[in-house]
Symmetry: C2
Subunit: 374 residues, 2 copies
């Protein structure tokens, strides 16, 4: 080792979650204040936190990452060894597959995320494919299982009888894409504990459940991995010749959200109000945004604030001349992707309590009599 350990930028202790909304106290599930996010990159302290179990306490000195299974040369890497490998830095938006669940009526089980289980950061780490090449990934490996150090007894039926680790399996084709990182930094500083310290996966374009935190093992497997998380929990019902079949979630679906005005905000009549939000997609680009201020009857084009960058959100704005007539108005935003696909009109029940990517109604009040925004 080269002694560089002492130079790492450590923000694991100074990290604060002030400003996040508690959706679950323990395990820690905290939502980003979506309405307060003006910057392209979400500040680390405002990035949403999603945990399945208590945060494991890992340290750099004893940390080991195993790469095994269907590989020629199983590896065990220390933290320093990982950090000495060629790294890349990429921006990626992560969204929890259950983001916006609170908009489902009737209410469903699970953390009641509103708009802020999505954030955008810059990640630094070793591409997963570099590790797989070094280990000599065998041709018959069909999936790569990412396993975390966090353990416990999960909730969704069917539940295995003993405590399990958090684990997620990626299709081989995705795992060897250059954007998939085994990351140790976030926004230029070492990962905080809540975000996977010392090492996590970052799988751009996939829902957050793929970006396994506190990563300790990368296992190449020869048959599809039907672990708890890929089956009982983060699954959906696809159709096979008219019959529903269970598949694991994967790619993030096209979505846009309005950050401002906030739900139930009161705005002043007959003024220009800058409606502001962000839009993102999975393995494609967001190319258009339309906004409706009349509950979806009419739509007008909004303006992007960020260029196209695969796997990262694009912020957008729309100047709304608020109505003279006081009352309740429903705002919606709807994105279109590079293939011309639009967000769906409503939530697809085959996705269960996940993939809430229809235009979310933001109800606001127009009122000049005193309830106005400061």
């Amino acid at each position: 080792m080269d002694g560089s350990r002492t130079h790492y930028v450590d923000n694991t202790s100074e990290f604060s979650s002030a400003g996040l909304t508690i959706r679950q106290k323990e395990p820690k599930n905290l939502e980003a204040p979506f309405d307060r996010i003006d910057s392209y990159l979400t500040p680390t302290g405002l990035f949403y936190i999603r945990s399945h179990f208590p945060i494991p306490a890992l340290d750099r000195a004893s940390y080991r990452l195993k790469v095994d299974g269907a590989v020629k040369r199983p590896l065990t890497l220390s933290y320093d060894e990982l950090r000495s490998m060629p790294s890349e830095t990429r921006v990626a938006t992560l969204e929890c597959a259950g983001n916006s669940r609170v908009f489902l009526v009737p209410q469903v089980q699970g953390a009641q995320w509103e708009l802020g289980a999505v954030s955008n950061a810059e990640w630094t780490g070793v591409p997963l494919r570099v590790l797989l090449e070094r280990a000599g990934l065998l041709n018959d490996a069909c999936e790569i299982v990412l396993e975390g150090a966090d353990r416990g007894t999960p909730k969704e039926e069917p539940v295995p009888p003993e405590p399990i680790s958090y684990a997620w399996s990626l299709p081989r084709a995705k795992a060897i894409r250059p954007e998939v990182l085994i990351a140790y930094q976030m926004n230029g500083r070492d990962l905080p504990r809540d975000h996977g310290f010392p090492v996590r996966a970052v799988v751009p374009g996939y829902y957050g459940m793929s970006s396994v935190k506190w990563l300790t093992r990368i296992q190449a497997v020869r048959e599809p991995f039907h672990g708890y998380w890929n089956t009982s929990d983060y699954g959906y019902w696809a159709s096979m010749d008219g019959m529903p079949v269970r598949r694991p979630l994967g790619e993030m679906q096209l979505k846009s959200e309005i950050a401002r005005p906030r739900v139930y905000e009161t705005v002043i009549p007959n003024r220009v109000y800058m409606v502001f939000g962000a839009a993102w997609a999975g393995e494609t680009d967001v190319t258009e945004i339309a906004v409706s201020t009349d509950g979806g009857r009419t739509w007008a084009e909004a303006e992007f604030l960020d260029p196209v960058r695969r796997h990262a959100w694009r912020r957008w704005k729309f100047d709304w001349l608020t109505p003279e007539e006081p009352g309740q108005y429903t705002l919606l935003a709807r994105a279109k992707d590079a293939s011309g696909l639009m967000q769906p009109d409503r939530h697809d029940k085959n996705h269960g309590t996940y993939v809430i990517n229809h235009p979310l109604p933001i109800e606001v009040f127009v009122d000049g009599s005193g309830g106005e925004r400061l």
Copy 2:
């Protein structure tokens, strides 16, 4: 058609379930009186009934069986066409995967089967492989999905959002075995409605969920079928490198049951009592039976009443000299298979609420003072 339709032996109307125990009224789940079964073949009227949904009303004239998917020549067969094909008659024991669930402590969800969700019958029909050969099964078909006409909304999470048919997928290797029948007769007479009229699958060696009743479609598929029944419901947790992975149930596990004495029966002291029962296995043979009358401290060999016949149960008996000492005694039976494997000591929690194949304790009372058997 040859007009032979009028000659079919029809027992669909005369069938009676008198003597069965209700475990669920609707859908119909009735248990065989295991203590009353002396014959090798279970009389049709005493065969256990397992249904997931209301019994569909099918008739011979309009019945069609589709064979499609990964085949060269998709088929649609009428009832008469199926009956005109070469047939075979085989004895097979069917056991519900949840049989003996009532012995689990603490109690678990599901029909509270005691000993009688197992029965043995003679089945007549067309081997599935004959149908698959006729349709030209393609090399890349990996499973065969058997779909019934019974439909509804099932209960185990995760549940698909719309009603579904009952369906079960067999591995290709099992589906093309000669013992797997597309059956239209049971014990020499046409299937009763409760047992799948007009046509059902019979998959000897596999738990009952494979023997799809009211069969209307046989679909060859190119990727493993992860339908509701193979995943949410009839699954178990296998282990893959220390991590639990969900797999569909399949082969019946080695098991023996004591039919007499019954649970909580009172027997007379110091007499020879003929303990009687049956034992079965999946893809192997039962070769030994031991009985304990002291809760498992000591074991003695029992005697088979039936020869070895793959996929069918073997009845057995054991002459017990009842103790002079009044009190409560626990009887157990334990089978061994051709490979030397014995029944496990206890239920494996990885099987959830299924595969209850440990020796089941039959508690009886020895009492000479009047509470004796007639």
